[in-house]
């Protein structure tokens, strides 16, 4: 998942709010029973797509326009929270296709904000790994198609740690010589995840006793950390400030790009499986074009570009098989097999229990 670029988000927040407020509200009705016209003239439709910044080919809009004739505007959001706020602020945000992580697609789907995908218009779905259509947050890809996926683990410099970590406890209860040389993610569900996994619990647990245990561990870990860092942890490894950091696999690659000695490992206790997905809004007036866009993205060529340039794994079998082996050798996280990825636990939406994680984060971060 793209990191919450909090600082950018902070400044973009006002803009986001302004956008949300100015988006014309014109009641997107429930279109569950809507049948789409496979022969619709796409050139008469236009599309607004919201996607994480720096997460797609720069000329994607032009490419898609050339391929289909759909006039396409791409807007950016910085975080899942950001896009969800925009989509829920009014009945029609003016956005046709929105990218968001799986658990958010699940929640918005349940709320009736997302259109059911018309599979007859998305033949490229067959390029996906079979596993990528059976993910816990949206079985059968009813509301969402996966764009990129990955897991979370330890990104580290063997020359500084002196050993290869194998457990979340290497981070949570570090050796004395590693104290002050580790960082953890502090956003959303990733703060609690290592502590939950180390204790053998689910990343989706809502059990108060388990969460309390995780919180106690995290408070114990806090004094040993250099910092909580969701955005520049890989730079801290490169500079040698940190020896080991909790990192999303794709982001560890940004460190490897600058220092080939950096390594990534998913600890033995396992981690989460995160999926960044594409969804079509129910309020969209251009659903045929929106489906065509989703289909276009699932084209192996487009997804190969994503893997090669963003350095994230994509759930597209054809694209992954087409990857240059040298690239996979350089960035081993790209080589994590689907089987290994499936051993990780998919993050799902927790409904009202989400606040338990919000409170846990607040308490861990605010306690000195």
């Amino acid at each position: 998942m793209r990191s919450t670029r909090r600082l950018v988000a902070a400044s973009a927040g006002t803009v986001a709010l302004a956008l949300a407020l100015t988006s014309c509200a014109s009641g997107g009705g429930d279109t569950a029973g809507e049948t789409l016209d496979p022969d619709a003239d796409l050139s008469k439709q236009s599309l607004t797509v919201s996607i994480w910044s720096d997460y797609y080919p720069e000329d994607l809009a032009e490419q898609f326009e050339q391929a289909t004739g759909v006039k396409t505007t791409i807007v950016n959001h910085t975080t899942n929270e950001d896009i969800v706020a925009k989509l829920t602020a009014s009945a029609d945000s003016g956005i046709d296709v929105a990218f968001m992580s799986g658990q958010y697609a699940q929640a918005l789907g349940e709320q009736g904000l997302l259109a059911k995908l018309d599979k007859s218009l998305i033949p490229n779905e067959e390029n996906l790994y079979p596993e990528a259509t059976e993910l816990a947050y949206d079985e059968g890809n009813v509301y969402s198609e996966p764009y990129a996926w990955g897991t979370t683990g330890l990104c580290y410099r063997p020359d500084l740690t002196g050993f290869a970590p194998t457990s979340w406890n290497d981070l949570l209860n570090p050796k004395p010589e590693l104290e002050g040389k580790t960082t953890m993610l502090s956003t959303d569900r990733w703060l609690a995840m290592p502590a939950l996994k180390a204790a053998g619990y689910s990343v989706n647990t809502t059990d108060d006793a388990e969460l309390d245990e995780a919180k106690a561990q995290l408070l114990k870990t806090k004094p040993t950390l250099l910092a909580y860092d969701d955005t520049t942890f890989y730079s801290k490894l490169v500079s040698g400030e940190a020896a080991m950091v909790e990192a999303w696999d794709g982001w560890c690659n940004y460190g490897i790009a600058e220092n080939p000695d950096i390594e990534f490992v998913v600890p033995d206790e396992g981690a989460d499986l995160w999926v960044d997905t594409m969804t079509v809004l129910n309020s969209s007036k251009n659903k045929e074009a929106a489906m065509a866009f989703v289909n276009y993205i699932l084209d192996p060529e487009v997804q190969t570009w994503v893997a090669e340039n963003i350095l994230y794994k994509v759930p597209n079998q054809q694209a992954m098989e087409a990857l240059d082996p040298a690239l996979v050798e350089q960035y081993p996280t790209l080589g994590i097999s689907v089987d290994d990825l499936m051993k990780q636990e998919a993050i799902v939406d927790l409904g009202d229990d989400t606040t338990k994680y919000v409170d846990l984060n607040a308490e861990v971060l605010a306690t000195n």
Binding site: L7, A227, E363
Partner: protein, 300 residues
Amino acid sequence: MTSTLDRAAPAARAPRVRRGLAPVPFLAPGMFFLIVFMAIPVGLLAFYSFFKRGRFGGVVFEFTLDNWVKLFEPLYLGVIGQSIVVAFVVTVLALLLGYPMAYAIAGLSPKWRTVALVAIVLPFWTNFLIRTYAWILLLNNAGWVNQWLQGLGIIDDPIAMLYTPQAIVVGLLYMYLPLMVLPLYASLQQLDPSLREAATNLGATPWRTFRTVTLPLSLPGALTGCIFVFVPAMSNFVIPELIGGGKTIMVGNLVRDQFFEARDWPFGATLALVLTILLVVVIVVQSAVSRRLTEGSRRG
């Protein structure tokens, strides 16, 4: 004073009333701005703070006092208290550092004064995020300062200067020191030199002149500077995150996280409202004290 007015003939008071109304057209734009950009938003915060959160942000209009109850949990009170302490320490340090600076600048020749003032304001021409990252490059364990110190053989192991509560204070101090210096300089600049001369002529030592003449007369400027530093320092959230490493959070981070992470608008509104009220109280106290000081100095 008022009693004599009360007994005055109505005719005599009439012109006064008209004079009292005269500023209204001039006040209107400012008042309009304040109402639209301050009163209404703060009213909205107050309104939202009594409702439930929507699952995806927004507000569900079911009345509740939960947000106010939550505010008084030790955790949140602690963060607010800690923010006050940090902002206070930063303000005191800024005053101690800023006063000599302002005093020195006020004593320069006009040409050098301009140079000095430009130097004070210069950092504001760069985006503050960039300046914050510059601090990180300088101070981190692998940063320039540690490299120099190690290179010169002064230290063997790098000194951890970042990601501590002290680092937050230093970062905020750097960020807001100019806001202390400028009002102080202005008030010192306006001091009538003949007052200091008089004190000297009457046999006061330089220190006593400073203590009895300069310092009291520059207090309003110092108070203004304190407000200029305290208010933004109290609500800053970028410095605690970048320079404090996210390990110490301030009320600004809490507010931001309620809106961006937790999607809990009502509680975010409650926190923001309390922060606003706190700062308004500080400003009201400051202006009351300031008024007493200036009236006192005029009478004296």
